[in-house]
Structures are given as structure tokens and as C-alpha cells.
């Protein structure tokens, strides 16, 4: 018997006890207790009838650099990160979706360069910081995208590069993330990815 079935049985028993009390007991306080049993049992049954989703902490997945041979391997890791630790799919979709609340990422790897994607993920306020839509003095309008390399998500540089590789792959673009760019644990990290040359493009997007 599944856990849900066991819990449903418990809830049903609570309802049953409540019904029995109402049928056979005359004392007012106990009858009211029986009534409360029925209400609480029905509440639990209702809660057990909806999809049972638990929230598990993200698994601490370590990227084994030695197992990565090609950019496609990086993209495969990026796909895992995109749907798990990165929580990207919580807000974004790949392709049109009614439930997506944030920009559709289909084709984003073709529209934006690797450097710009990296900066968008680690410093989302870099360019989109004021709301020009209402005329007059622009209002502060911070992007709701969090800096992905900081808590609560806290992706490592390797994980961010892997996500970029996945987005490029999904867009049908050649993956521009090279295996050599990945940091090997214990070694001095390489220079961070720069967003040089992306500024003019970003401003054009905003306006």
C-alpha cells in the first residue's frame, strides 16, 4: 500500500469515527468533537486528493571534469542544472508556455553572445535598471532575475557555463563554451568571462 493510500485510510478512519460519534453519542461536547473529526478528516482527504509534490533540496552534483570530452557533454550537464539546481524552469520556458512568467528562452543562444548571457546571469541589473515605458522621469525598475551565482541559487562558474552551452544547443547554435574554459577544482580559477562588446547590443534591446 502506498504512503498516500495509508494516509487516506487514516483520514477516512477519522471521518468514520466522527460519523459513529454523531450517530451513537448524545453528549453535546463529544458530538461536537465528532463533527470536528469529520471536518478535519475531509480536509485531509481533500489535501491527499491533489497532486502530492514535495520540495527536496537540490542534490549536490559535482561536475567531473575528466568525464567531459566535448561541448555536447557540457550542454548535457547544463540541461540537468537548468531543470534542477539552477531553478531556471521555475520561471522560464523553452518555447511558448502559458505557465511561464519570464522570457521564453527558445533561441536565446542564437540571439545573445556567450559573454552577454554570462553577464545576464551573474549581473542581471547591468543594463535593465530603469523603466522608460511611462514617459517622464524613468522609474527604478529592477529586473526580477536574481544573480544566479549568488545565494539562494549559487551556481558555480562551471555550472553557469554549462547552462549557456545548453541554451546554445537548444537554439541550434554551435556551442561556444570550450572544455578548456571549465575550472578544475583545486587549480587557480581562470579570469572571469568578460561582457565586453555586449553593451551596445543590450541598450538596443532595452530601448
Amino acid at each position: 500500500m502506498s504512503e498516500v493510500a495509508q494516509l487516506q485510510l487514516i483520514a477516512l478512519s477519522i471521518v468514520g469515527v466522527g460519523i459513529l460519534i454523531l450517530l451513537f453519542i448524545k453528549a453535546v461536547f463529544i458530538r461536537v468533537t465528532g463533527f470536528v473529526f469529520i471536518v478535519l478528516g475531509l480536509f485531509s482527504l481533500m489535501s491527499l486528493a491533489v497532486p502530492q509534490l514535495a520540495s527536496l533540496p537540490p542534490a549536490e552534483e559535482k561536475i567531473d571534469i575528466s568525464s567531459i570530452k566535448t561541448p555536447t557533454d557540457i550542454a548535457a550537464i547544463g540541461q540537468t542544472v537548468f531543470f534542477s539546481k539552477g531553478q531556471c524552469a521555475l520561471c522560464h520556458s523553452i518555447g511558448p508556455s502559458e505557465s511561464a512568467r519570464c522570457p521564453d528562452l527558445k533561441g536565446i543562444g542564437a540571439k545573445l553572445s556567450k559573454d552577454f548571457l554570462y553577464e545576464s546571469l551573474t549581473d542581471p541589473q547591468a543594463f535593465v535598471y530603469q523603466d522608460y515605458r511611462h514617459g517622464g522621469v524613468p522609474k527604478e525598475y529592477p529586473a526580477t532575475m536574481p544573480a544566479i551565482n549568488k545565494d539562494p541559487i549559487g551556481l558555480s562558474k562551471n555550472e553557469i557555463l554549462a547552462v549557456i552551452a545548453f541554451l546554445q544547443q537548444m537554439s541550434g547554435e554551435p556551442i561556444s563554451v570550450a572544455v578548456s574554459e571549465l575550472e578544475i577544482p583545486g587549480k587557480t580559477p581562470s579570469a572571469p568571462v568578460k561582457a565586453a562588446g555586449a553593451a551596445s547590443f543590450a541598450m538596443a534591446q532595452v530601448r
Binding site: E3, V4, L7, I10, A11, I14, V28, F29, R31, V32, F35, V36, F37, V39, L40, G41, F43, S44, M46, S47, L48, V50, P51, Q52, L53, A54, S55, L56, P57, P58, Q87, L90, C91, E98, S99, R101, C102, T144, M145, P146, K150, D151, P152
Partner: protein
């Protein structure tokens, strides 16, 4: 003692025990049984470095803390809600001269001393459990909030002193300036109670939306952490919710007493008490969805992911259950009003039957829309036929625009139920009555249409426009209706002729059960939303700052969580029933023994919660 000597000693002891094996085995088994928990406690303590977590076998540390925290919060809501309720009743009696309100206020204040002690007891247990099970987290929170801990202690002292003065001085401060002083004490009691609520709210909201200063004095750091984005939305939401809880628990108590009392006088008294409790509950309930909406808006603004986790992520189905509970609460409150019209005001049933039926149908339709999920639970074949998880027709109703619209309509309907009850059994005599009623009717119809139009229009505008302008306009429209129709009705009824006198004590037994149902719904809602707020932090003790690395760093699914919620609700009901029983024990004794016989001898202080001598 050498090792050989030790072995010899054990052997001698075993020889001496020969023939007692069964008894010894039983003793060992019992000792082992009792030692099991300590083995669990010690598990985390043996690792190197400071202990981060401790656990308890069987129930688990997280579940134990969950239950105790929830019970403490419910009791705190009760202890903070009842003084508001009691003080409002006292003010009505003081200004209006109706003594029965004063008696009601006193009856509920009597509960406070024992309820206050029980709440503090659970608060103390919670604190010990938190320090024992989560030492690292508590150390961190203490470091951030140390100044507010001191403030909290001071507030408790002030609240306790004020409560004792307010309760024990009730009879001594009945008349003249002393009554004014007593009312002021009631105000002070609520004033301190408000701060007692908002100080720990800062600790809880900090965990969800932390503001951390790395530099500054202890006071500056505590102040920044206190003034976090969700602090005031929670403060307002809980303040209103406490009034609702206080009102509905008063109603439930009256309902249970109404079902059990025999004398006509008692039936009338508890019927009236049930009406007052339900009225105050509904009064707060009308404003509660607005406060909840503001809270969710602030959560979204603070962190989009947290908002989505709540409304669109793994907690999204919880809001369907919430809709069901709120819907039942609205139905229960309206049903009680309708029963009042039918049974307390003879002759009104025929006049209002059609309107009541229409209201019932409208409420059920609104509830159906509110409970429509955004994505349906469907098999692969069904999903393929629908072209996704969204039903082609019902999918339209499962979005916020529709839900906001129906929740506003339900508030309007409930308000109109109250107005209907208010007007029943009275005949207008004012010359402008026809015009007044026409204006009220027009306001109601136009407002309802405006709410619906804005709801439909909301589908065709960007979400930000809907949230910032349309939803707030809907709320403003409903507020306008309440603020227009209430004074107009009051003016109209000032000169109205009473055609049918209110008959108290004539309600059927199901009215008592309706009051109990309403109270259970409110308590369940509080436990449900407590789980939601806590789960929205996912695997963080302090969101984005301190990660939960314990084995309990997951949020259980709604089904298993619901059983804990049900247990908390039931246990809280039993606790409240016990408090009521203890507090009214003296009255029953007095009533049974006759006046004077059951009173304490002069000079002997009454126990906390005991009733002082009545002089009314």
C-alpha cells in the same frame, strides 16, 4: 581495579543474579526503551565541531518543533485576538450603555489569564526545543536580534502587569472616571499586545526575506533585519487574522454552549453571543483577503522565485485547498446570517428567501471559479485531447484575474448578507428612504459590474498592469461599497420602525454547528498558511543566507502535512475547550451552590483565571 578484577566482579554479579534472568531481561529492555531517545539526541553531538542539529527519534525534531510552534502561534493569535474583541465590546457597552456587552467582554477577559499562561508555556517549550534542536540557527538569530530579545522581555512584563490590572480591576473600576481608566487599560493591553506580536514577527519574516548588514552596531543590524520587506504585510495580516480568530472562537464557544444549555435565559445569551462572535469574525474576514494580497505582492517583489514557489511551484495546489477553506468559511458565515433572518426575525424568511437562494448560488459559483486549478490533473490521453495541462474552457478560470474577481464578489455578497440581516424586521419611515435604497442598489449593481469588467479586462493587459491597477481598483471598489452602504443603512434604520422584534434563543442546533465549523475553518487556514510560509523558504533556514543542512531540509507534500495540520487544529481546539472549562468552572459552582455560598472567603486571592465577584 585491573581488567581481570573487573571481569571477576561481573562474573560474581552474574552468578548472584542466577534465577533472576527474566526479571533482569525485562529491566534491561525497559532501560533500553527509555534510553532510545537519548541515543537519537546524541547522534549529532558526537561529530567534531560545534553541534548544528539534534534530533529526537520517532517523531523527529522538525515535526515536534512544527507542532509546538503552530500551537504557540494559534494560542498567541487567540490571546491577542480576544483582548481586541473584549475591548471593542467594553467600549460599545461604555459608550452605548448596553450592559450585556460589558458582561460579554468580562466573560472573555476571564479566559485571558489562563490562556496567557498556556501561550507563554508553549512559547517556553518552543524556545527550549529550538535551542536544543537548532543551536546554530538560534545562535545566528540571537546574534542578529539580540536587542529585540530584550525589548520583547520588557513588553512581556508590561503586558502581564496591564493584563492583571485590567482583569482583577474589572469590578473595582466599573463606574465614572474609573471606568474610563479601565477602558484605557484595555487600550494599553492591546497596544502592548500589538508590539508583542510584531517583534517576533520580525524574527520569522527575517527568515523569509532577510536584510543582513555586515557592519554596524547591534542595534543598527537588528533594526535593518527587523524592517525587512515582508514584516509589515505579515503584521497587518496577522493583526486582522487574530481579530477573525477571536471572533469565530467566541462564536464557536457560544455555539457549543447554546447546544448544551437548557434554560431560556442561557439560550438567549449564547445565541446573542454567537451572533456577536460571527459578526466580528466576518467584519475581519472582509478585510483579510486584501491583506493577504498585499503580502503576496510584497513576496513577489522581494523575490520572484519565492512568489512562484508559492503560487506556481510545488505549493500551488495548496492555494486550491486554501480557496476551499475560505469558501466554506464564507458559506458558513453567510449561512449563519441567513439562519438568523429565518429564525430570529419571524416573517422575514418569505421576504428574503429568493435573495438568499440567489446569494447561495452566486457564492457556490464564485467558489467553483476560485477552486479551479490553473493546470488540471490529467492522464496523458486527456492532456493530449486538451492540448496541454490547461483545459480549453476551465483553464480560463484558473488564473489570478478570475480568482481576484470572484473573491471580491464573495466579499460583496457576504457584506450584503449582513446588510439584509440588519434591515430585516424593520420598516423605513424616512422621507428619503426610496431614494436612499435606489442609490444603494445602484452602487451595488454598478460596483459588481465594475469588478466583473475589470476581471475580464485583466485577461487582455500585461500582468503588471493587472496587478498594479486592476486588482487594486477592484479592492477599492469593494471598499467604496462598504463605506457607502454602511452609513446609508445606519441612517435609514435610525428612523425605521421595528415591525418584528428579534427573538433570541430560537436558532436551530445546526446554527451552533455552523459556528463551530467557521472556527475550525479559520484555525485550519492558519495552520495551512503557516506551512505555506515556512515551506516557501524551501531548503533555507534564512532564505539565501543560512542553508538547512539537516536531514529535514525538505518540505513534505501537502497530504502528509495536512495530517499534522489537522492534529494541530484538533489539539488547539481541545486546549481552548480546556481553557474555557477551567475559566468557567467557578461560575458553574457558584450557580449550583447559590449566591454567596460558593464564593471565596474574604481576603483569600482567587487563582489565576478565577472569576472575581460580580457586582452588576
Amino acid at each position: 581495579m585491573s581488567a581481570i578484577q573487573e571481569v571477576e566482579t561481573v562474573q560474581r554479579a552474574l552468578r548472584a543474579m542466577r534465577g533472576q534472568e527474566r526479571w533482569l531481561l525485562g529491566l534491561l529492555f525497559t532501560a533500553g526503551w527509555f534510553l532510545l531517545p537519548s541515543m537519537g539526541f546524541a547522534a549529532e553531538g558526537t561529530t567534531a565541531g560545534p553541534t548544528e542539529y539534534r534530533d529526537i527519534p520517532y517523531i523527529g525534531s522538525r515535526n515536534l518543533v512544527w507542532i509546538v510552534a503552530q500551537l504557540h502561534l494559534l494560542l498567541a493569535g487567540f490571546v491577542l485576538g480576544v483582548p481586541i474583541f473584549a475591548w471593542l465590546c467594553e467600549v460599545i457597552a461604555w459608550r452605548g450603555g448596553e450592559k450585556r456587552y460589558d458582561k460579554l467582554a468580562k466573560e472573555f477577559t476571564k479566559l485571558l489569564t489562563s490562556a496567557y499562561a498556556t501561550t507563554a508555556l508553549f512559547g517556553g517549550i518552543l524556545l527550549f526545543l529550538l535551542v536544543a534542536f537548532y543551536p546554530k540557527l538560534m545562535n545566528y538569530l540571537t546574534d542578529v536580534f539580540f536587542p529585540s530579545f530584550l525589548l520583547y522581555c520588557l513588553l512581556f512584563l508590561l503586558e502581564t502587569a496591564t493584563l492583571y490590572l485590567y482583569w482583577y480591576g474589572w469590578d473595582a473600576m466599573q463606574y465614572g472616571n474609573k471606568k474610563t481608566l479601565h477602558v484605557f487599560l484595555g487600550f494599553l493591553l492591546n497596544f502592548f499586545a500589538l508590539f508583542i506580536m510584531i517583534v517576533p514577527n520580525a524574527w520569522a519574516t527575517f527568515q523569509s526575506s532577510p536584510v543582513v548588514l555586515s557592519e554596524g552596531t547591534a542595534f543598527e543590524r537588528a533594526w535593518a533585519a527587523t524592517w525587512n520587506p515582508t514584516w509589515w504585510p505579515i503584521n497587518i495580516h496577522r493583526l486582522i487574522a487574530n481579530v477573525v480568530l477571536g471572533g469565530y472562537i467566541c462564536g464557536a464557544y457560544a455555539g457549543v454552549r447554546y447546544l448544551s444549555v437548557k434554560s431560556t435565559e442561557d439560550r438567549e445569551h449564547y445565541d446573542w453571543m454567537g451572533y456577536v462572535g460571527n459578526f466580528i469574525g466576518v467584519f475581519g474576514l472582509l478585510a483579510l483577503p486584501f491583506a493577504g494580497y498585499w503580502l503576496m505582492r510584497e513576496i513577489y517583489q522581494y523575490n520572484q522565485q519565492m512568489g512562484i514557489t508559492l503560487m506556481g511551484g510545488f505549493l500551488s495546489w495548496l492555494f486550491i485547498i486554501q480557496a476551499m477553506l475560505i469558501g466554506v468559511l464564507f458559506l458558513g458565515s453567510n449561512y449563519y446570517f441567513w439562519l438568523g433572518i429565518t429564525y430570529r426575525i419571524p416573517g422575514s424568511e418569505a421576504k428574503y428567501r429568493r435573495a438568499m437562494l440567489m446569494m447561495l448560488i452566486s457564492l457556490l459559483l464564485c467558489l467553483a471559479v476560485w477552486m479551479t486549478p490553473h493546470s488540471l490533473v490529467a492522464s496523458i490521453e486527456e492532456a493530449q485531447k486538451m492540448g496541454g495541462a490547461h483545459h480549453p474552457l476551465l483553464g480560463v478560470l484558473g488564473v489570478m484575474s478570475a480568482k481576484m474577481t470572484v473573491s471580491n464578489l464573495m466579499i460583496l455578497i457576504t457584506f450584503m448578507s449582513f446588510v439584509m440581516y440588519w434591515r430585516a424586521g424593520k420598516q423605513d419611515t424616512a422621507g428619503w428612504a426610496k431614494l436612499g435604497k435606489a442609490v444603494m442598489g445602484a452602487v451595488l449593481v454598478l460596483a459588481s459590474l465594475a469588478v466583473i469588467v475589470l476581471g475580464i479586462w485583466g485577461y487582455f493587459v500585461p500582468a503588471i498592469v493587472r496587478i498594479n491597477y486592476f486588482s487594486t481598483s477592484q479592492v477599492a471598489i469593494v471598499g467604496f461599497v462598504i463605506l457607502t452602504i454602511t452609513p446609508l443603512t445606519a441612517l435609514l434604520l435610525k428612523s425605521a420602525k421595528t415591525t418584528t422584534e428579534m427573538v433570541w434563543g430560537s436558532m436551530p442546533p445546526r446554527a451552533g454547528y455552523a459556528l463551530v465549523l467557521n472556527a475550525v475553518m479559520v484555525i485550519l487556514l492558519m495552520t495551512l498558511m503557516g506551512y505555506a510560509r515556512s515551506s516557501s523558504r524551501v531548503h533555507w533556514h534564512v532564505y539565501g543566507v543560512m542553508r538547512d543542512t539537516s536531514p529535514y531540509a525538505y518540505s513534505p507534500a501537502l497530504g502528509s502535512a495536512s495530517l499534522i495540520m489537522a492534529f494541530c487544529t484538533f489539539f488547539f481546539c481541545i486546549l481552548v475547550a480546556f481553557i474555557f472549562w477551567v475559566a468557567t468552572m467557578g461560575d458553574k459552582y457558584k450557580a449550583a451552590a447559590g449566591a454567596g455560598k460558593g464564593e471565596l472567603p474574604h481576603g483569600i486571592p482567587a487563582m489565576a483565571g478565577g472569576a472575581p465577584e460580580e457586582r452588576q
